[in-house]
Symmetry: C2
Subunit: 137 residues, 2 copies
């Protein structure tokens, strides 16, 4: 089957937090979101949690990210405090999509959350950090 380079859907919204368990408690206790997965991504020195609305069959999740040490996310926390960090779109094949994006150079593809290949785009339209995640569903 021919792969499609288009953005398929908004996979998640990434939120940088100071303490993952405090943030998980608030989002689950107060807003009743359900924790799908919690994991550490060693290459990025972060701990992640993905939270999902309970009353949905939709795929878009909230990703909470706690920096575990120095790095770009720790720098973000120092500069901006906790808050919205990026929007991630699901694609079928990252190199294919990158090849179709005007003005995008090479981006480092890494093993991101949920064992998926991912990358951050170099361009930041309207100041937005965009991540791509590769999905097969």
């Amino acid at each position: 089957m021919k792969l499609d380079p288009k953005f398929r859907y908004v996979d998640h919204v990434g939120i940088v937090v100071r303490d993952l368990h405090t943030a998980i408690a608030e989002f689950s206790d107060v807003y009743d979101l359900e924790v799908e997965l919690e994991e550490e991504i060693a290459s990025f020195n972060v701990r992640l949690a993905f939270l999902q609305c309970r009353a949905t069959d939709q795929l878009t999740t909230i990703q909470l990210v706690q920096p575990l040490g120095p790095g770009p996310l720790s720098d973000f926390l120092d500069d901006h405090g906790e808050g919205l960090h990026h929007v991630c779109f699901a694609v079928e094949d990252i190199p294919l999509t990158l090849g179709c994006l005007q003005g995008e150079g090479e981006s480092r593809i890494f093993r991101g959350g949920r064992g998926r290949n991912a990358c951050f785009l170099a361009n930041r339209p309207s100041g937005i950090t965009i991540e791509l995640t590769e999905v097969s569903d």
Copy 2:
């Protein structure tokens, strides 16, 4: 049918932009998102566009917001520049949901984008501005 107070799904991610048409052009030309709707919300003094991934049956959209004059969104632009502003969750009934959220006071319900009732929550977990939008689907 009994209404459910839970957050149903991520309805949209709100991005404050300086110029709506420049931002629409970038998101549609470069990232191939499709403009679903463009409209002015007089009560908020903003112009909005909702953009959707083309290769999806998912409901989460990207909302671009240009302030048209003084107001909280214009203040945001002055303080932070363009960027991610809020996450909006779809609910069935805003007053019902507000009544179930611990520690939330009253929020002003207004006629938001796409003719729907909406409100911003007073509490900002992890520094996040949360909007609710009322959907019947």
